[in-house]
């Protein structure tokens, strides 16, 4: 049976892993390949690099990071941030990434998703959706709007509608981040995850708000997520991947056992 993936996310800027409430108060956390290898050893099922600088000169740096990581951490690698064309995607894949995540560029140019999927296959194309709640009145159905540029810009797009369209265009996976919850450690927005997971046939990765193992369980059982992503709770060593997986397994969720040497 397919295991639910536990994915540490490494925010990268200027060649280093940084942390902070998204995009502000950045603190240097170390060398990306070194951290990625540590997580792989500790049982991470996949690693996500998110280039939050996404400046043109940062792309060569990012490719270098991806290649150095692929040479020492033998787990799947997804890279997001700054890819705007199929040829940029090709460069990141050739450096050693398995999947590329498209966010702002896909909203600006939805056909980019189709072009990338046709060229590299749907399995390599992740569409990342940052969503913010727009309807919060009791008794009315919830709704979410797509935001871009790290939540600084609204788009007017309905998040569930965009999710369906992205999959029609060829996205093989959706990385769904609740901007309301991101960095708050108040739990994933499971209603958002469920609204999208029920409408698309591809895997949905939960992101934004994880505080502890119970949130991962809720993302899967209530939200219907196929994978759970978190950053700060792993970076700050509040919870180990092994501890998170143990709680998930106890809740009846299939997980890949953490290698014994990782204990």
């Amino acid at each position: 049976m397919l295991a639910v993936r536990v994915i540490p996310c490494l925010d990268v800027a200027g060649g280093r892993v940084v942390k902070g409430t998204r995009f502000v108060d950045l603190v240097d956390e170390g060398d990306p390949p070194e951290l990625a290898e540590r997580y792989a050893r500790e049982g991470a099922d996949e690693i996500v690099f998110l280039d939050i600088s996404a400046a043109p000169e940062g792309r060569a740096t990012l490719r270098d990071i991806v290649e150095r990581t692929a040479r020492r951490a033998f787990v799947p690698l997804t890279v997001g941030g700054g890819v705007r064309t199929p040829s940029e995607m090709r460069d990141v894949l050739r450096a050693g990434a398995d999947k590329v995540s498209l966010n702002t560029a896909a909203v600006a140019d939805p056909d980019l998703v189709r072009r990338c999927a046709r060229r590299f296959g749907s399995q390599a194309v992740v569409v990342a959706i940052d969503a913010r709640r727009t309807v919060m009145s009791p008794g009315r159905p919830a709704a979410w709007e797509v935001v871009v540029k790290g939540g600084r810009e609204t788009t007017g797009l309905d998040a569930v509608g965009w999710a369906e369209r992205a999959v029609e265009l060829g996205a093989g996976e959706l990385l769904v981040t609740s901007i309301d919850r991101d960095g708050t450690q108040s739990g994933y927005d499971t209603a958002l995850l469920r609204a999208i997971a029920d409408r698309v046939p591809v895997p949905v990765v939960a992101s934004g708000g994880a505080a502890g193992p119970a949130d991962f369980v809720a993302a899967v059982l209530e939200g219907g997520a196929s994978a759970v992503l978190a950053a700060s709770i792993f970076h700050r060593r509040q919870h180990s991947i092994a501890a998170v997986k143990a709680v998930m397994a106890a809740a009846g969720i299939p997980v890949r056992p953490v290698p014994e040497t990782a204990a």
Binding site: M1, L2, A3, V4, R5, A40, D45, E46, E67, A70, R71, R72, F74, V75, P76, L93, R94, A95, G96, A97, D98, K99, F120, G121, S122, Q123, A124, G172, E173, P201, V202, P203, S226, A227, R256, P257, P259, T261
Partner: protein, 208 residues
């Protein structure tokens, strides 16, 4: 030193396979044309994506016949993901005719709760095989695909080496003589994946 040739036909990254084989102590040569095969003890065809463009690229590089000959001579061969699917007659994904070395077709996974099938899943061997030496029974490997081969013909029970369940069982590893293929990605499957690639290198070294 055992030399493993890895075919580069523009279908996916080679960084991890290259490095995994080096960690296993093998010498790696990237194959872009037939002469690159000289002196190799084992051949790996990796790859992700669709079959038709992959076959086109193999043809453009004049690698189809050398691959056929390699396998016909029963030399050590490993197909990974698309590189295994290409061994069969054709693919339902885009209707492409593929190498036709093993009877059967590449079909879309049936009964799957979600596709693509992305993540770690148990590979259940039906018989022992040296490729999996030292790997625990039912150990999980990393998959990312929506299609898998459906072997046919009189040797089918023999060819299907392992199965994996995603809605229903599909064939996740095949073997026939010195030919093997895996639907998962050993180069992304941590310690067990490295062991599998090391086993392949060691089989190739012994056959040399």
């Amino acid at each position: 030193m055992t030399r493993i040739a890895v075919v580069d036909y523009g279908a996916g990254n080679l960084v991890s396979i290259d490095q995994a084989l080096r960690v296993a102590g093998a010498d790696v040569v990237i194959v872009r044309a037939e002469p690159d095969l000289d002196g190799a003890d084992g051949l790996i065809v990796p790859g992700v994506g669709a079959a038709r463009p992959a076959m086109d690229r193999l043809r453009r590089r004049a690698l189809v016949e050398p691959i056929r000959r390699w396998i016909a001579d029963d030399r050590p061969f490993l197909g990974i993901c698309l590189g295994m699917q290409l061994l069969f007659d054709g693919s339902d994904e885009d209707g492409a005719r593929t190498l036709g070395i093993l009877p059967g077709r590449t079909i879309r996974l049936t009964g799957a709760p979600r596709l693509p099938h992305i993540g770690w899943n148990a590979v259940r061997r039906r018989r022992p095989h040296p490729l999996f030496a030292g790997v625990e029974a039912d150990a999980p490997f990393y998959f990312v695909h929506s299609y898998a081969p459906l072997p046919a013909g009189p040797d089918v029970a023999d060819v299907a080496l392992a199965v994996t369940d995603h809605g229903s069982d599909f064939v996740s590893a095949v073997a026939h003589g010195r030919l093997a293929g895996v639907q998962f990605h050993p180069e992304r499957s941590g310690r067990d994946g490295l062991r599998l690639l090391a086993n392949f290198a060691s089989l190739a070294g012994r056959a040399a």
